[in-house]
């Protein structure tokens, strides 16, 4: 740490160590505050994100089997390694347009404490650390139930979804109540 044996001075070493310690601590804190690991994707032509901890996997859109007599939100079901899983088109919930899900379309599998479910997206852009400095929280009690705010990134804004609220929303469950 010091490099020079002859300049051995316990006080300066300790001081240096303390400085390093504090610096490391503050660095860690700054990092934790600044960057949120998010999955970024396109919905209704806009860029959205949510924290990676909610996402299980991103898959290509398999054949979706339509389910009769359920809310239109449920686009269909598919086989996820032997488990029957729903695919949801959440765009109407967010008041978004519904352009067709094309070749770039994917399904993000997310897991609530009750079930795993699939969310149809128009394209996935991978995991990104989003800088919290540019984060603007949505107004409290705003009309957008499932939006926590948006990040102002250099190449435009990314809307942060409130995935917890979305997964707890009763309207995504079939036959609730």
């Amino acid at each position: 740490m010091t490099g020079k044996e002859e300049a051995y001075d316990i006080r300066s070493i300790l001081g240096q160590m303390r400085d390093e310690y504090w610096q490391a601590l503050s660095e860690e804190e700054v990092q934790a505050r600044e960057v949120l690991e998010c999955l970024v994707f396109t919905l209704g032509g806009e860029r959205f994100a949510f924290e990676t901890q909610h996402a299980c996997e991103v898959i290509r859109v398999p054949k979706l089997i339509r389910v009769p007599a359920v809310q239109t939100l449920i686009a269909g079901i598919f086989n996820l390694r032997g488990e029957i899983t729903a695919a949801m088109d959440i765009r109407p919930m967010l008041g978004l347009a519904q352009p067709e899900i094309g070749a770039a379309g994917r399904i993000v599998v997310v897991k609530s404490d009750r079930f795993a479910t699939g969310i149809l997206i128009e394209a996935a852009h991978g995991v990104q650390g989003l800088c919290c400095d540019g984060f603007e929280p949505a107004m409290a009690g705003g009309a957008k139930r499932f939006v926590r705010g948006h990040f102002n990134e250099q190449d435009g804004s990314i809307i942060l979804l409130d995935m917890e609220a979305l997964l707890a929303a009763p309207e995504i469950v079939v036959g609730e109540g």
């Binding site: 089997i65 339509r66 029957i84 079939v174 036959g175």
Partner: protein, 679 residues
Amino acid sequence: MGSRYLEIFCREAEEHLASLQSGLLVLERNPERSSLLHELLRNAHTLKGSARMVGLSDISAITHTMEEQLKGMERGERQVDADAIDLLLKGADAVALITSALLRGEVPDLDVERFVAEYDRGELTRPAPSETREAAAEQQSETVRANVKTLDHLVNLIGEMIINKKRLEAKLLTLKEIAASLPADQAQSLTLFRRDLEEDVLYQDYLIQELHEKAMALRMLPLRSISDGFERLVRDLAQQLGKEVRLQITGHGIEMDRVLLEGLKPMLIHLLTNAVCHGIESPHERTAAGKPREGVVSLSARHEGRSVIVEVADDGKGMDPARIKAAALAKGVIDPREAEAMGDEEALYLTFWPGFSTAEIVTDISGRGVGMDVVKRNIERVKGNITLTSEKGSFSRVTLQLPLTLSVIEALLIQCGGEDFAVPLNYVQEILKVRPEEISVLGAGEVIKVRGVTTPLYSLAAMLELPRQTKSCATLAVIVLKLADQRMACLVDAHLGSSEVVVKGLGKQFRNVRFLFGATIMGDGNPALILNVPDLFSAAANDGRRATRSGAELDEERRFKVLVVDDSITTRTMEQSILLTQGYDVVTAVSGEDALQKCADEDFDLIISDVEMPGINGFELTRALRESERYREIPIIIVSSLSRDEDKRQALQSGAQAYIVKGAFDQGMLLETVQMLIG
């Protein structure tokens, strides 16, 4: 009484208590939901029946008073308020206290007579001791539950193997096609390889089947495991009623899936109780009719094909169709015209209506009309079928047809609305090819003759709200479904043969799905939905009623297509469902832009739009549509929360035909306007 029954009873009681408790709590929050009462009543009633069977008179006394109270609530004679619910909860607690004490081999610390007396007066002051229920649960959990779960898991895994095998079989077919498309010299080695592989797959198939049978056998229990207490039940009941009855059981050893047996037990208790109470006459009456003093109630089980047949029969007075009709008339279940047209056999099935009873006297045992509908509901749960036969004066017989197991069922695969579905074979009577000229119109619906019997015909796609395939084939594929005494014919796109399918749940995101009871995974790895046939029958019944009310215009050849434009999901869904129930095809758009896109893609007969939306508003949308050749004449309805005259004027100026204010918005208004504009 053996401790084994006690344990079984306590476990059953725990389930009923749990559902009583949760049901009561829901009721407390929504006192207006009187439909909950019937369910609670069933719980109390079943609990009472089971308690009586194992000779626990304390519990049957408490549940009897609870049942009385619930019955009063259902009839509207007693209030559904916090106090009443509290009382019921205390009753449930008292039962729990007794069962948990019994499980520990202790005498319950409860003066039941006093409890019941206080309960009846509604003045239970002493808080019913809430017992440490966890302790009881713990004691049981180490016995079988964990094992059974592992067993279920094992069966599921084998189910996966069956699915995987199907996939292999599908691949073999592909391989065959590939070989066929190759030049002969190259194809030869591939063909040899394919044959080898085919043999391997066959052998694997054999192994899987063996394994499956063995695993299923582990889950199978003999009928004996639930029927042991029945003799006691019949004896006690007969004694109470002053009758002489002998119970004859045949086929104790017939084995069924554990889950099925659990569902079967309450049904059998009800059926046996019914037979003793309503079927068998008093010794006096029997002698007068020239029958032996002692009546015989028989319970029998046997295999028939891939089903198990369980029958409960008695040599008593039989069911009287005339009396059943009269009771149904008095209760308003049917009207005089329906009664007139109803055959004797059909009349027997009226006893399936909730609340139906022909008993003159309501006793604490039966005649409360929570009998046959429980049976019917449970049989639907276990995917079985039920038949009633009776001859006045000599016998009645209830036949239950059950699948061997619920995890793998025989199903008919069909295609409908572009999707594949599986229909449990238990409900399929036959498959037909019908020529269009064989379909005739009766009332508001279509019918066909099936073996000389006029059978209502429905489009399965329409029932399931799926797009109808427009086919102009010479013959139409029809499947005839049966449920109890009912038959219905369903128009499908095609049938794809029958197959063994592995039943999978739809997962927790699907709480309650109409028309479906699960899904299976097909050879190509994609799911196919398994239809719940009883739901189709009830949908058909509702549809029939509606059709007679609103006239025959519903069944027009062409369905009108409506585009609903609104950025609010609630409004959209509401309007969509109103229109769907009236037989319109509905497409939704979330914005003006979206609507324009959709209008470019397909033709609509009518457009219903909101005004205020992100992007272009409803007026702008209307104007844009009016400018196009295609939509110049198409009616547009504006639905908005703006109620100023200025807005209405603007709507008309932009070219809309009608303007409905959201505040005044109601189903009738919307439909009237739609019907006025497009009929």
